[in-house]
């Protein structure tokens, strides 16, 4: 599978590393080159691109036109929402996953047809269950 990942933080880096290890074709983007050094192992065989994936030219360079999946994992909800919509509606990427911290925005974009994940919602639920209240 060809996967484009936007945002090389802990989640983006771990996901890219695992996909690469399982022989998927991975391209990972980040604004800051240092993030690649921080969150990818030296053995990482995928492509690393420094740039802003909200810019469609950068997405094209990352191979979005041939991608089977796009994952938005930056710290910015709005960046994730915009890039995911561009991937889905402009480049017709078959599978798009978007992380949104804000549960209200998550609910809205989910209604608008994006596959969304809110770590806030999921995290709160898990902690709640662990508390056993």
């Amino acid at each position: 599978m060809k996967v484009v990942i936007m945002g090389c933080g802990r989640v983006g880096g771990a996901l890219a590393t695992r996909l690469d290890a399982e022989n998927h074709e991975v391209t990972i983007l980040d604004l800051n080159e240092y993030q690649f050094q921080r969150f990818l192992p030296e053995s990482f065989g995928g492509r690393k691109i420094t740039g802003n994936a909200v810019d469609q030219d950068v997405l094209r360079r990352a191979g979005i036109e041939e991608a089977d999946a796009f994952v938005a994992l930056t710290q910015g909800d709005n960046r994730n929402a915009m890039a995911s919509q561009v991937a889905k509606h402009i480049f017709n990427v078959p599978r798009v996953v978007c992380r949104l911290y804000d549960p209200i925005r998550e609910e809205m974009y989910n209604e608008l047809g994006l596959r969304t994940i809110s770590p806030t919602r999921v995290g709160t639920k898990m902690v709640w269950e662990e508390l056993g209240v």
Partner: protein, 221 residues
């Protein structure tokens, strides 16, 4: 009219000022506390501190009764999301987004934001009007003093009337390649006829650029 403005930078500030002076009710949502306070100090109580992309902030701002919602921050993604929240959560009928990257205009339209304003596009079109109509684009400067340039052949150019071998080019200038309107590269020969829309790649000297442009794009005599 009640107008909600997201972004209290220069654009948001003067927009609010003009609208209030024209008798409208306006509210500026600004993330930065100091900026919001500055607006309130100058324009009165029409500034609210908050993130205009958040539904809760828009609720407090009364987006639901807004006749017009305008997002003018410096970030296209923030303007997009603010407008989408206004439209989908608060049913605002008229939303306007400022865009910085002109290429985002098409994207915004596809995502349901019909009205966009791009200062970059406005300035670009002004500049284009000031430039000669068919400029020569410098591609690469060689150490020998030559330059590789690209020229697009316009309709009605004099160079369309003759074979390539008969077009008088400035000294030390030479056509190296042609990409036709179908996007196919061609090797030029003295018998080649140029066609309107062809992109010509040529080598020339810096001082001959203007003469080369005239020879290839000048009107037929």
């Amino acid at each position: 009219m009640y107008i909600v403005i997201v972004g209290g930078g220069k654009v948001g500030f003067y927009l609010a000022k003009e609208l209030v002076e024209a008798g409208h009710e306006a509210l500026v949502i600004e993330r930065d506390a100091a900026k919001a306070a500055e607006i309130a100090e100058t324009l009165g109580e029409i500034a609210m501190r908050g993130d205009g992309c958040e539904a809760a902030t828009q609720e407090r701002a009364g987006s639901g009764r807004a006749d017009l919602f305008i997002a003018v921050t410096g970030d296209d993604e923030d303007n997009l999301v603010a407008c989408q929240v206004a439209r989908h959560k608060f049913n605002v009928k008229r939303v306007v987004a400022r865009i910085n990257n002109p290429k985002n205009e098409v994207i915004f339209r596809k995502l349901g934001i019909d009205v966009t304003v791009s200062a970059t596009s406005v300035i670009l079109s002004q500049i284009e009007q000031e430039l000669p109509e068919h400029p020569l684009i410098p591609l690469l400067q060689l150490r020998s003093g030559f330059e590789i340039v690209e020229v697009k052949i316009p309709d009605g150019a004099g160079s369309l009337d003759a074979k390539l071998g008969d077009i008088v080019l400035p000294d030390q200038s030479m056509i190296w390649g042609i990409v036709d309107t179908e996007g196919n590269p061609q090797v030029p020969t003295p018998d080649t006829h140029l066609r309107a829309g062809d992109e010509v790649v040529a080598v020339t000297l810096l001082e001959s650029q203007e003469a080369l442009r005239a020879a290839l794009t000048g009107p037929s005599r």
